[in-house]
């Protein structure tokens, strides 16, 4: 083991110094200062550390990054409709290079049960609970990128759903990164809280324009009260040169539910960390993920589900389709504490390798301290089933079409879990766009419902 | 042989048996019928000594001893057999090996000589044929991967090998097709004799066409609300349980 390298952190320290203290309450300044200290002490994750065994940040270390200004960045609205993955029939909050764009956003009105505003505004206005909730980001056990976010975030979304409010329209957060000179970094912070019995569907969409380098380092955390439920979609559509490092933390109280669908369609080096803490009885937690990688994309999904109370269920299904030189990583841990009796936890990781040069590394872990539990995990890695391919071809389907069909069938159960019809269509279209081969999705009918 | 007096029992906080009295003499077959949730299966579990069932009142005497004071395995050694409604699977433990261990535990308890593997196998094959249990199931792990019918036959097969003096059959007919039902009934009938008593717990009269009982008891809400001869079962089949429940609720009418 080597000590953190000061050179690694210099560009971030410089950016922090250059930005100076942000406008806002005193607690924010000290929180950010404290976070910067933590980041500086830990540095970037070291090569060879267990948590970063399969993901190399050498490319990131070489670069210098700068924060975008606090002024709104420009995009034209005609562009915007093309950038969205689906028509947002509900609420929309757009962030360009980390800065909220009021012009493109459509926020709910006051008194509608849901409050959505830029986090910077919520902090400035002193929205109830904002200090505690922002500070709670420290409690998920994330590594130094989360500290870096805490030190440098300017904005992101502040989302609060009041007691019993069932928000039927989804809330769509679009984070756009546009970094023509290859030096942009953004640290969006999305803070979500649901009071008792509240319901919310949230779409987080990370989109990169162009192929040059940038660092996208979002941190989203959920606080879900008793009997509340959240459905969360996360799309990664970053540019080829991007480094996308995200942290998603969830705390769930009794009888709450959380379902996350994560789709990664593009990016340079992508690392997603998810930590779900099941802290009340009767909690349901579902984490699903689909990675479609090609080119030299590297996608690393790390998840932790921490069962600390009895009678909770968790389900986890992560799949990867890897073509060309793509490299997929999965590390999923299920932790069951001594008190978490009657836990039912299932985890599955499946990867399909479509080329000689694609690589998959998988590490599904169980750490169990309670005896009356049902915990299983499974992992499979392989290529397309030759028998299935032959069967389809013998029925007159061309080789390429048959391949796409089988790959689509592999991925489809994760797409079929999407409840929102528009989003589902959008994700399906993206999936076909990304899959190898030239098959038209229209010509394919598979049992994805 | 078995004398149940005012037996009361509960599971967790729910009182299931609310005072049951039942006497079974050697050679008799008693059918216990009743709708779902009336406490039929609980009665079987309490007789066998399941720890989830807490006896809150009454007594059970068996061959003059206090049955409730005995460990489950000692009850088995004394000749009490429960054919389970839902037989559990025990991975990796061979059916044969398990049953030989059981038989020898019981023989040892009775001061009899233990059977060696060869003698046992001979006995097991004979009994398997008797209940028409596929011999290949003897080498498989206990109940693992057995069909519903195979599990029930396996229960009756075990009964045939262990030769209990009191056999409690808990819904042994459920989930069986007519051929399997006949095979199971034949197995039971072949074991009827002057020294052995049966309690046949069932929801339907169908089984009782093949295992003809001496007495029929109707259980409702934790109590026996009516007892009679085998014709009572037919009456129940015809009229359902409602009339008898109503009758019990309004004894005057």
């Amino acid at each position: 083991m080597t000590a953190p390298n000061a050179a690694d952190t210099q560009t971030f320290l410089d950016a922090y110094a250059e930005r100076g203290k942000v406008d806002g309450p005193e607690w924010l300044a000290s929180y950010q200062e404290e976070s910067m200290k933590l980041f500086r002490a830990a540095g970037l994750p070291l090569p060879g550390s267990e948590e970063w065994k399969y993901t190399n940040l050498a490319g990131l270390r070489k670069r210098e990054f700068a924060l975008a200004g606090a002024q709104p960045q420009q995009i034209t609205s005609t562009d915007l409709s093309e950038l969205l993955i689906c028509d947002p029939d509900g609420f929309l909050a757009v962030f360009v290079n980390g800065v909220f764009s009021a012009e493109h956003s459509r926020l709910p009105e006051a008194g509608s049960g849901i409050q959505v505003e830029p986090l910077s505004a919520a902090i400035e206005n002193g929205s109830p609970g904002v200090e505690e909730l922002v500070a709670s980001g420290k409690t998920f056990g994330f590594e130094s990128f989360a500290d870096l976010n805490s030190a440098l975030f300017h904005s992101g979304a502040w989302i609060h759903v009041t007691r019993g409010a069932e928000i039927t329209e989804p809330l769509y957060l679009l984070h756009i990164s546009d970094s023509p000179d290859g030096s942009l970094m953004t640290h969006p912070r999305n803070v979500v809280s649901l009071e008792e019995g509240a319901r919310l569907t949230l779409i987080e969409d990370y989109l990169g324009l162009g192929d040059s380098a940038y660092l996208s380092n979002p941190f989203t955390h959920f606080q879900i009260a008793d009997n509340a439920g959240a459905v969360h979609y996360r799309l990664v559509r970053e540019g080829e040169g991007s480094f996308h490092v995200s942290n998603l933390g969830v705390r769930q109280a009794g009888h709450s539910s959380f379902t996350s669908h994560s789709f990664c369609f593009s990016g340079g080096v992508v690392r997603n960390d998810v930590a779900a803490f099941l802290e009340g009885e009767g909690v349901e937690c579902t984490l699903n993920g689909l990675t479609v990688g090609r080119g030299e994309e590297h996608v690393d999904n790390h998840t932790r589900i921490i069962h600390s109370q009895p009678n909770c269920n968790s389900w986890e299904m992560y799949k990867a389709v890897l073509a060309e030189k793509a490299h997929g990583v999965f590390n999923g841990k299920i932790y069951v504490a001594q008190d978490a009796q009657k836990t039912d936890a299932k985890q599955s990781n499946q990867a399909l390798l479509l080329s000689d040069t694609a690589v998959m590394d998988s590490k599904p872990e169980l750490e169990i301290y309670a005896d009356d539990v049902k915990c299983t995990h499974g992992a499979t890695v392989g290529q397309l089933n030759e028998d299935g391919l032959f069967y389809l071809r013998s029925r007159g389907i061309g080789k390429e079409a048959a391949r796409v069909l089988l790959v689509y069938a592999f991925a489809s159960d994760l797409v079929s879990g999407i409840e929102h019809p528009g989003l589902k269509a959008g994700v399906e279209a993206l999936l076909f766009e990304k899959l190898p081969g030239d098959c038209e999705p229209a010509g394919v009918t598979v049992g994805a419902t | 042989m078995l004398e149940i007096k005012e037996l009361q029992a509960k599971v967790e906080d729910t009182q299931i048996l609310k005072g049951i009295s039942l006497q079974v003499n050697p050679g008799e077959v008693h059918a216990v019928m009743g709708p779902n949730g009336s406490g039929k299966s609980t009665l079987g579990k309490v007789i066998a000594g399941h720890e989830d069932y807490l006896v809150t009142g009454g007594s059970v005497a068996y061959k003059g001893k206090d049955l409730l004071d005995m460990e489950p395995e000692d009850r088995a050694c004394e000749g009490v057999f429960l054919a389970f409604q839902y037989p559990v699977e025990i991975p990796g433990v061979g059916n044969n090996y398990f049953l030989r261990t059981a038989l020898n535990s019981i023989r040892k308890y009775r001061g009899e000589e233990e059977l060696d593997a060869f003698d046992f196998l001979e006995l097991a094959r004979e009994k398997a044929d008797l209940v028409e249990l596929d011999r290949s199931l003897l080498d498989r792990p206990v109940n693992e991967g057995f069909s519903g019918g195979e599990k029930k036959r396996n229960e009756v097969f075990q009964m045939a090998v262990l030769e209990p003096t009191l056999a409690v059959l808990d819904e042994t007919d459920s989930g069986l097709d007519i051929d399997a039902l006949k095979a199971v009934a034949d197995g039971v009938n072949s074991m009827r004799g002057p020294d052995r008593g049966f309690i046949v717990i069932t929801h339907y009269q169908r089984l009782l066409e093949y295992i003809v009982p001496d007495y029929v008891h109707v259980l409702h809400d934790g109590r026996i609300i009516k007892s009679g001869g085998k014709e009572l079962a037919l009456e129940l089949e015809e009229k359902g349980y409602t009339w008898i429940e109503e009758e019990a609720a309004n004894p005057a009418s």
């Binding site: 690589v359 590490k363 169980l366 049902k374 995990h377 392989g382 | 395995e73 991975p91 990796g92 398990f98």
Partner: protein, 481 residues
């Protein structure tokens, strides 16, 4: 009525039956580790210069290494300077035959159920008995040598077959491999050596029985087995140690080499002293075992039943170099009281159409912590590789832990890799079912646990399978056995 859980807790704290000490005079080097100690060990064993150099190279490398802390086990720092690195029972004179072995030693092994009297042994098992740092006797040597099989102590092999030793020593586990293997390379005292010539199937099981007797002594044996083309050998290993309050270190290295079409079956029943019910004492079992399937169509199969040791840290592995070679790992690991085990395997697929199977059964009782840690690696050129892994854990009681850390690294798209893991407890309904049939709770638990381990036990040679089942029953059951 006693609940099954209480019963389990009671059962999980049974006595160790091999804890006696043999009162025998021994020759030891003074405690501590330095170049002189290594030179002294080498001198006592009259080793050639190249071996001493190899040891010293390892020692030099070891000084630069740090103890690994990544396993999920927790123990205080080991003081490497307070330990004795060489101890041997005082030889009364040069041994010419088995009849001349010290009767105290024969009695010790008799007491452990290992008869060194060739006449008394029923089935064909040849034994190399290792007492502290040295091999005291090897049975059936003559009979085996008629077939060209070499089975002797490591020291003897160095003297009699230096070319073979030189060719293969360190070829699977290099001296620089890891902290404990490197330490072993510097100070290893004795162990077994075995060579099966081309085309020979060993007619009997070869086995080594390890006994630690002396206090404050580390045991660092080294085993090397080479199976030449078209040969077959089944090798068994057993071990025990006296009960002592201090922890003792056992850091062995086992190297296996299988050439074209050769098969090695290596079985271990590990029953080192596990420490008392409060976690005091016991052996630290930090072992490196690795086999190389060098030849095409070769096969190496590891089977282990781990019930002893305070801490177990071992990953018997297979390097599948030859095309169509096969690696297998079957393991039962039981931890009770304060025992900790971090064990598993590595299957490294290099050759084409290589196959591996991993079956691991972990049982945790009391405050035991049991981790499976395994690596399945499919290299780029390993066209058509297959792996199936199954890791099941059983927990007994609410103070223990069961953990699974599989690493799966796939660099070839034609690989088919499947990993399954599950965790369960003994069902109360299972115990009740068995009790209703007249079987006591104690027997019911033992029956269910043995059923859980069945897929592993059936891989053991007959004699060992019985011993392993008994051991598991004793470990869990106590009086009934």
């Amino acid at each position: 009525m006693q609940s099954p859980t209480d019963h389990l807790n009671e059962l999980a704290s049974q006595d160790y039956k091999y804890g006696f000490v043999t009162d025998i005079e021994s020759d030891s080097v003074p405690p501590g580790l330095n170049e002189d100690v290594i030179k002294k060990i080498s001198a006592i064993k009259e080793e050639p210069e190249w071996l001493l150099e190899w040891r010293l190279k390892a020692y030099e490398h070891w000084l630069k290494m740090t103890e690994p802390r990544w396993p999920k086990v927790d123990y205080p720092e080991v003081d490497f300077q307070s330990m004795v690195y060489y101890s041997s029972p005082k030889a009364k004179k040069e041994l010419q035959s088995l009849d001349e072995v010290d009767p105290d030693l024969l009695e010790t092994f008799d007491k452990l159920g290992i008869s060194l009297d060739e006449q008394k042994r029923l089935s064909g098992v040849a034994v190399d008995a290792v007492f502290d740092s040295v091999s005291v006797a090897t049975t059936f040597k003559d009979k085996l040598s008629e077939l060209g099989i070499i089975f002797c102590s490591f020291s003897e092999a160095v003297r009699e077959h230096p070319d073979l030793v030189k060719k293969y020593l360190g070829s699977v586990v290099p001296y620089s491999d890891n902290f404990y293997a490197t330490l072993n390379s510097a100070v290893f005292s004795d162990g077994s050596f075995c060579y099966i010539p081309k085309g020979v199937r060993s007619p009997m099981e070869l086995s080594t029985y390890f006994r630690i007797n002396a206090a404050n002594t580390g045991q660092f044996e080294r085993t090397l087995i080479v199976a030449d083309e078209d040969s077959y050998v089944s090798y068994l290993e057993g071990c025990t140690a006296p009960m002592r309050d201090e922890n003792q270190l056992h850091a062995a290295v086992v190297e296996l080499v299988a050439l074209d079409n050769a098969q090695i079956k290596y079985s271990t029943v590990q029953n080192w002293y596990p420490g008392d019910e409060n976690g005091k004492g016991g052996i630290y079992n930090f072992v490196t075992k690795r086999g190389a399937c060098r030849g095409s169509d070769s096969k190496i199969s590891w089977t282990q039943v781990e019930t002893g040791s305070a801490i177990t840290w071992k990953y018997p592995s297979c390097i599948l170099q030859g095309d169509n070679s096969v690696g297998e790992f079957y393991s039962v690991a039981l931890t009770k009281n304060y025992q900790q085990a971090d064990t598993g395997t590595k299957m490294v697929h290099i050759g084409k159409n290589t196959r591996s199977t991993i079956i691991s059964k972990g049982i945790s009782a009391g405050r035991g912590q049991n981790s499976y840690r395994g690596l399945v690696k499919i290299n780029k050129g390993a066209e058509g590789a297959r792996n199936f892994s199954q890791c099941d854990s059983m927990l007994m009681g609410d103070r223990c832990g069961a953990h699974t850390f599989p690493y799966i690294e796939i660099n070839n798209p034609t690989a088919q890799v499947e990993h399954e893991a599950s965790t369960s407890k003994i069902g109360e309904d299972q115990i009740f079912y068995l009790r209703q049939r007249g079987i006591s709770t104690e027997d019911a638990i033992s029956m269910i646990v043995n059923g859980f381990c069945k897929e592993v036990f059936r891989e053991l040679p007959m004699e060992f399978a019985v011993e392993a089942q008994k051991l598991l029953s004793i470990s869990l059951e106590g009086s009934v056995g």
